[in-house]
């Protein structure tokens, strides 16, 4: 579990360490997630078959609770869509829309629940995303916790000075629009100072060196090739299925 932010309602990166996919290559997981997302274009029979296989994959990968949690958050939307589509159009349409939405909601759980930001960075570099952009992405991840603490500190300081009160209702919100600037300005200034310090630290460590070597390299293992082969086989089977 990687913790981002140390106070209040901060979020966490919930890595499922015991998942067999945790050790798979991030490129493989990205490919699997994208293939799963593309499956929304299948017809009802094929989609039902695909969903069955996908649930089996999630069960094997011990990611079923993660995906189910994501779909559960959509329960009311799915319920309303199902009922309305069933009443006004047909049961087939109701089922296919619910399946497609569930698939779209849960498809990337497979990737995000088993991949660290550092692994994503390596995958991005492999995809020819310039190193500087990939680096800035990991800087952003590592800074969420720090910025969260700073943001709270600014808010508490401004509240103590009477410069910020949480607006209750519309009228108060419009009246206190100026107060929001009292939150935004110090946050922007502190963020800029931090960015400058990070830039200097990065250059001091040879960030722009022309002969830079990555700290780790991705390599495809047997698990990755097996997963990709299985994905290809399922895709071909679904395409040939009449």
């Amino acid at each position: 579990m990687i913790r981002l932010g140390t106070s209040g309602r901060s979020r966490q990166l919930a890595l499922v360490e015991r998942s067999p996919l945790r050790h798979a290559d991030p490129r493989t997981k990205l490919a699997l997630s994208m293939c799963a997302s593309l499956a929304v274009m299948l017809s009802l029979e094929k989609l039902v078959a695909f969903m069955g296989l996908y649930v089996l994959l999630l069960f094997w990968a011990r990611l079923l609770p993660e995906a189910a949690r994501q779909v559960w958050r959509l329960k009311w939307v799915l319920l309303v869509l199902f009922v309305v589509d069933w009443i006004f159009v047909s049961l087939d349409l109701a089922v296919i829309i619910v399946l497609r939405l569930s698939l779209l909601a849960g498809a990337f759980a497979l990737f995000f629940a088993t991949t660290t930001p550092a692994e994503l960075r390596l995958a991005l570099e492999w995809m020819r995303v310039p190193y500087r952009y990939a680096f800035s992405l990991s800087v952003a991840f590592q800074s969420v916790g720090l910025l969260d603490d700073e943001w709270r500190a600014i808010r508490e300081a401004q509240q103590a000075r009477g410069a910020w009160t949480r607006p209750e209702g519309w009228r108060k919100l419009l009246e206190s629009l100026g107060d929001l600037i009292a939150l935004a300005v110090p946050a922007i200034v502190m963020t800029t100072k931090r960015a400058w310090a990070m830039t200097e630290a990065a250059y001091a460590r040879g960030f722009d060196s022309p002969h830079r070597r990555p700290y780790a390299q991705l390599s495809m293992g047997r698990l990755d090739w097996n997963l990709l082969a299985a994905t290809l086989a399922v895709a071909v089977a679904l395409l040939l299925w009449r």
Partner: protein, 191 residues
Amino acid sequence: MTDQPETAATTRRYFSTFQLILLALFAALVVVAKIALRLPLQLPGHSGIFWMTIVVVAAGVVHKPGAASLVGLTSGIIAGFLGLGDFGALNTFLSYTAVGVGADLTLWLLGGNAENLMIATLAATFGHMMKFLVKWGFGIVTGAPVGFVALGLLRALLGYVIFGALGGLLGALTLKALRRAGFFQYLAEKR
């Protein structure tokens, strides 16, 4: 032709390293604002008021086309990892990215001055509305009847417009406050 190594001196880059890191931190700030600040208003999209403020400020501080898009893209990836949003990581990623691209596009079309109250308000409104378009797109991809989707998203659209506009206004006012406080001079000295 000589085989020269690529160095910082020989390569001209669109964003400097400082600008890239700054935009990345603004993206992190977008996510922090989304998580930490919630107002007791019963309308979806109200977090956009802070969110669009930061996007507009990012576009004003870096002042290059693509700055807001990069903030949107980066914050979309972070938000996806943190499990924000109700429609899954793909929707979250696309929504955040679309917000940045929408704001960038509008700013570019209107001349790019994010300190102008009208331009910033329009850019943020359009940017925030792109979230709606992503949801609409999801509705179309899944095959949901467009009428139902529109009806369901009507209230959300109102929220996106109002809070996007307020966020843009706030962003422009923040930029003006930063200018008065000598922030841009500080940046120029650092460069």
